[in-house]
Symmetry: D3
Subunit: 304 residues, 6 copies
Amino acid sequence: MFMRIDKLQANLPKPKKADPNAAAALQELLGGKFGEMSTLNNYMFQSFNFRNKSKVKPFYSLVSSITAEELGHVELVANGITMLANGPTPDEDHKGDISSAPFKDMTDIRSAASFLHAGGGALPVDSNGLPWNGTFVFSTGNLVLDLLHNFFLECGARMHKLRVYETLSDPTGREVCGYLLVRGSVHAHSYALALKKLTGVEMEKMLPTPNIDLSKIPESQKYLDEGSHRRLYTWGEETYRDMAAIWGGGEQALPGDPPGDLEVVSGHPDGAKIDELVGASAAFTTDYAPEEIFDIAAKLHAKM
Amino acid sequence: MFMRIDKLQANLPKPKKADPNAAAALQELLGGKFGEMSTLNNYMFQSFNFRNKSKVKPFYSLVSSITAEELGHVELVANGITMLANGPTPDEDHKGDISSAPFKDMTDIRSAASFLHAGGGALPVDSNGLPWNGTFVFSTGNLVLDLLHNFFLECGARMHKLRVYETLSDPTGREVCGYLLVRGSVHAHSYALALKKLTGVEMEKMLPTPNIDLSKIPESQKYLDEGSHRRLYTWGEETYRDMAAIWGGGEQALPGDPPGDLEVVSGHPDGAKIDELVGASAAFTTDYAPEEIFDIAAKLHAKM
Amino acid sequence: MFMRIDKLQANLPKPKKADPNAAAALQELLGGKFGEMSTLNNYMFQSFNFRNKSKVKPFYSLVSSITAEELGHVELVANGITMLANGPTPDEDHKGDISSAPFKDMTDIRSAASFLHAGGGALPVDSNGLPWNGTFVFSTGNLVLDLLHNFFLECGARMHKLRVYETLSDPTGREVCGYLLVRGSVHAHSYALALKKLTGVEMEKMLPTPNIDLSKIPESQKYLDEGSHRRLYTWGEETYRDMAAIWGGGEQALPGDPPGDLEVVSGHPDGAKIDELVGASAAFTTDYAPEEIFDIAAKLHAKM
Amino acid sequence: MFMRIDKLQANLPKPKKADPNAAAALQELLGGKFGEMSTLNNYMFQSFNFRNKSKVKPFYSLVSSITAEELGHVELVANGITMLANGPTPDEDHKGDISSAPFKDMTDIRSAASFLHAGGGALPVDSNGLPWNGTFVFSTGNLVLDLLHNFFLECGARMHKLRVYETLSDPTGREVCGYLLVRGSVHAHSYALALKKLTGVEMEKMLPTPNIDLSKIPESQKYLDEGSHRRLYTWGEETYRDMAAIWGGGEQALPGDPPGDLEVVSGHPDGAKIDELVGASAAFTTDYAPEEIFDIAAKLHAKM
Amino acid sequence: MFMRIDKLQANLPKPKKADPNAAAALQELLGGKFGEMSTLNNYMFQSFNFRNKSKVKPFYSLVSSITAEELGHVELVANGITMLANGPTPDEDHKGDISSAPFKDMTDIRSAASFLHAGGGALPVDSNGLPWNGTFVFSTGNLVLDLLHNFFLECGARMHKLRVYETLSDPTGREVCGYLLVRGSVHAHSYALALKKLTGVEMEKMLPTPNIDLSKIPESQKYLDEGSHRRLYTWGEETYRDMAAIWGGGEQALPGDPPGDLEVVSGHPDGAKIDELVGASAAFTTDYAPEEIFDIAAKLHAKM
Amino acid sequence: MFMRIDKLQANLPKPKKADPNAAAALQELLGGKFGEMSTLNNYMFQSFNFRNKSKVKPFYSLVSSITAEELGHVELVANGITMLANGPTPDEDHKGDISSAPFKDMTDIRSAASFLHAGGGALPVDSNGLPWNGTFVFSTGNLVLDLLHNFFLECGARMHKLRVYETLSDPTGREVCGYLLVRGSVHAHSYALALKKLTGVEMEKMLPTPNIDLSKIPESQKYLDEGSHRRLYTWGEETYRDMAAIWGGGEQALPGDPPGDLEVVSGHPDGAKIDELVGASAAFTTDYAPEEIFDIAAKLHAKM
């Protein structure tokens, strides 16, 4: 079972302008083969399919707890996309005249379907608008092989995060990347250590791949300063603490990052307020004439 | 953000025998167009894309909290699939000789790929092995339209659950269906009420669709007896309690179900122990010679 | 069986200029999940799969006759796309030199494949170039559920038509939208009434969804003035007249539209001349040197 | 525009038993790459995209009229599928107890999804359950190339029809194949002649491909006896008669078929009654308790 | 079995500038339905599936040897794409600051995923970024039908090559098209002759389709001058020489091309040097800090 | 460029009986995500996209030469599939009566489409009939990351080969697996060594994954005895010999395999005769009445 907290894992700055093509680029990190939908579903299905979990409990705990974190990553990227696609909160809801082609610009953005389907919301598709699909999930039940996959997946995801980051100039999307680069590195590192425990191969010496330190990413620094790169969370399930047998026991931060012991932390990061996405009546979000709906909702609330 | 609890939403009885074709049928409820991956991702993306959430808070809370429950539904179906595909826990791990075609039977099951990819684990694919994909997600940002979609989705999902149920004779899969039919009915009902509040149309009078009462499903009875059909949960986020403006306020259980007030419950159901899936060395799960891995894991655990 | 009439359901004004990106946007209404290929094939397959049609004949007649109309909608959107992609009829066929990159601009349009495959013709793909596929068809055989789907589909299609309309400034595409918004509203209304007859739920009170009246769409007015919003056609099969049991019997136009009785009309609308698409030799349509072909065809015709 | 006639192009004998796997094989001829959805949509889109139609009118008429016929082919195969999947009309509606796994057998059929989605109805998918998709449509606007494609498509479709035929023992599916083999041969022949007129190449000498005469197919004989192999129909649009410039003018039946002049016939074949598909309450078609629906429909009809 | 020669089939001029959209257009000829991945895999699978090859040996030799050539076509287009996407070889590797959005322009190119996945490399996708897939392969085992398919495929591929050519102004991509138009014409011609031998139908009289002579393509002239249009190669397997029974025996070049006998040539064309693609550290190709890797590789080489 | 040799990499024993479901299982190793189409295309595209090849030449040589070998693997699996699907060479061509449902059994095989499309030939699809697609190719241009992918891909492929092997009882398919397990292990080993040279991480210590020695596979023994597990081939391109800097230099066979030095061998393995697939007239392969075709071909050959 899963619980929900109405907070975002990181605080995203407001975008400076609407930039649907930048939002589309960020979609790669959501619905691309190496996006968060992939990391989420790989670990989620592996955790459901886990064999002999009592006998290899720390490994089960690792995959299971990271699954919970990935849900928040999907949420974070989705929020970044909606913010970039919609731009700064408007002073007022420009209803205007829908017959004057108010969204003419949308024919020239890279993924017109994003506007036509979602009105600027996030969808499980990649940067070209191709839908995420279930063939992106790998779950054989062989522990070493599944962990090797996860290690590779995180390195591949790191590459995609870096390249998306390099295309974005707006602070919202860059912050998404800066945060995810830190947390993705933690996951790559943790799978490397898991493989090392099982096979003796020092996979962590291959990190970071690609070989660029996070010190080169300004948006990652505050997370490094906090020590985020040394932490795994239990996400509410104390029984997952035993993943410290992998992530702990004297294992250290990667050489290029601020030094220190790796540690398992109970609970979850504090998180930040989720930005409120204001609707656009002309795009029928919440609706063309939302006042009535707002009024109904207010009355419903008052009656409670 | 999401938290995780290492429990299943319902207690699943052990299967009587391995039945990969029955497991494949159950895959429809996991990765089919009307499976739990679809309900999960529809509500999850809608909750991320929600507009004006402060102005229509009870509706946001409804969609957001149900998202959390759907994660557990995905988990429940996945567990049902792995149990059915693998059958009763074997007395011992029959290693045998991999050169004697020990899995010859797998060429004749309906989805050979399920064995070849996942060794009998669950995957995000449907009953024919087609992968779930992102076109199954609908999220326009228009509140009435998105809720109408959700109402339709739950009715369509109910149809698929009923038909899958009718194909299964083993208690494991039937229990999955029995539980999900109750909870899916709650979700259909809640979206009906949400639409009624917004539009005045008494959608709940169309329920149940298909028009068969849950009293006809023996496996649903204990959940009805507990009152599960009258409850929505906050799944850990108290701010979602205000969905009681929709699910509450004197609204009643559907006529065919045990009577009573609808109510929002803090937290989550107690849940049940997750079945431990025993590996099969011959299928390389956990691995061909897992003893070494078990030994490593035991030592790691001991050192903590 | 189906018959064909060499006319278009509505008269489309000539485009002012070629606008391949606007044509691509219009593709959403042809090959998108909520495009006319979807409405057509849903109703077509439902009509083929209909159960107990003699016992529920008016419902069968409704779905079957609308199928015939949808064929004309596919035709209408396809014509709009080819007109927008090709622009005004050229004064002469500019053959020019194919070695001077005469279609250089095509590398920068949103869907280069549309030019490369179809030379500016319409294809069963969406606004991002993704192909229409059979998972978009829903046909369970459960009457209430299939009708509920159809009602939802038409509301979703209305949203997509509105958003596409808002992106188009050229009269051709806008006329396509203006006409289809009227006819799509009829279909939504008819499925609402069908559901009301079967379940007692006043679904039509949810219309229009999104909640914007057609009076806001200038291109829709002439169709409303004609009373198109109050009419269903038999499309040549008189046995379908009994759908008047649903669309008739005193049922009225929706409140926001011009008032009047709903009525079933024998036959079909008058229709309009189909625009003749002139080929472009440089794009090999009809061919690079079409004169010979024209000559052959003229002689063949003369010999008849 | 298209009109509809509530008849089937050929009379299908009742099936002797329900045979879902045979129905699945027949799906190849509906939603496979060389199925009727492909022939229909190729000619339909080509007719919409046709260039310079006034200058090459007989060719336009040919493609346009065949489009109308293909709609009826889709209908014919769909009916064959539903009949085979459902079997003979039952004496009574066995409601029985849905909790006793009444559809247990459905887990072992080749396409369980066909039952789970469509309750034994036809869907736009192939014999393996893969959805038909828009990449199967070829429409370049180059007349010779599009006709060459159509000639190839019909030859490929003939191969698939022959192979499906060879797998079927029940008369229903065999009759579908027998009829379509005759009509598909007409279409192949007509595209051959169209190419010959344009290029001088005697394509019809390549027919039949595969090189087996229809005289070998017992189910085709009555259609040959009627002269169906020598006829193209106008399908209600007299302006299409000028395709006689291609199909006519002394052109003869293929050598292996009964001899005679090719001719264009106004209108359409007489057609046959469409089989009424009886619902199965246990499969929720029309619904679990359809009597109420039947009663409502009867009263609606009576009031007219 | 296949062997490899580290050369390209044709010499490609250096591009004048990076042009990712032109590279995307060229992708149509690689991963599109009528691209080189399709010609390659169609002939490859047909050659693997060939029936009675000893009895129809020249036809087997034809398909088998062309398969080998198509591998080089895939290579040629891939090289053209990488060259166009990356532009002229830079004077130095601009490492710069990855935090300054060095690839901001990539959000506005047509296929952002091409950069994000491949850093400007070629991928098996089409001009819209849709992946090539196995449904593009046709291999029935019927000799006439498979050859007819191949003839059609080459004509369709010729259309796509011509249209892509017309969109390109840079010499690199144009050279790719100029070369492939010559060789593709050879393949179309050879399948035409194969069909003629088997059926007596003079298919080659339909060539060229589209009906434009290669004399109109400046980039094709040097290959025509060499006589490339009259040659098929054995690609290293002398047993394939017997395809001269089809491509030879007095058969002549097409009328629009330089005249002469068709001939089978042992071996392969001389080929040209493959352009060395220089990495971009900022795009992590070969890596962010590749010097270390270069150093390792140099030392490894030295030790040999 | 690539050359072709008309031989198979290994000698396949004749099948004992036709077993279409076993053939379908073997399709997983051809068109599945971890099948030979994937290994081939991954290495092929990586070799085309290679950066700075002169600076990292041994790595380029490794990937490029293995590409050539993979072509032969695709060929080997394809041959295994056709042999299993068609069974032993029949004594005579049973033409019989196609109207007596001669292929009735094909409705019950797992992938009816395999028969309907390919008449028992191999296709680029997986064990469930899903088409191979281009998203299975990974080629970022980052050397370490691409090699890591390749290492993971080979380990994943090994798992799939092992599981397919365990389902097959017929010698043909088992031999395919036995051979590929040896060669795939070589490739995994070589990528491990490449990574070790670049990063210092001893990846080869993770081999074999899954952790079962080839000594357990009887069909692999003769290849081990020959030393195949210690050899990489240049496949005709001597410039690739420098991959000995990776595969050589004293590196040894894996501990579980027969000991010895790793070595680069010029050329290619001897290979074996390709089985001649006899057609089935009733399935229209080569055709329904192939004698005429055989006669034509014989005469053509005689005239040379």
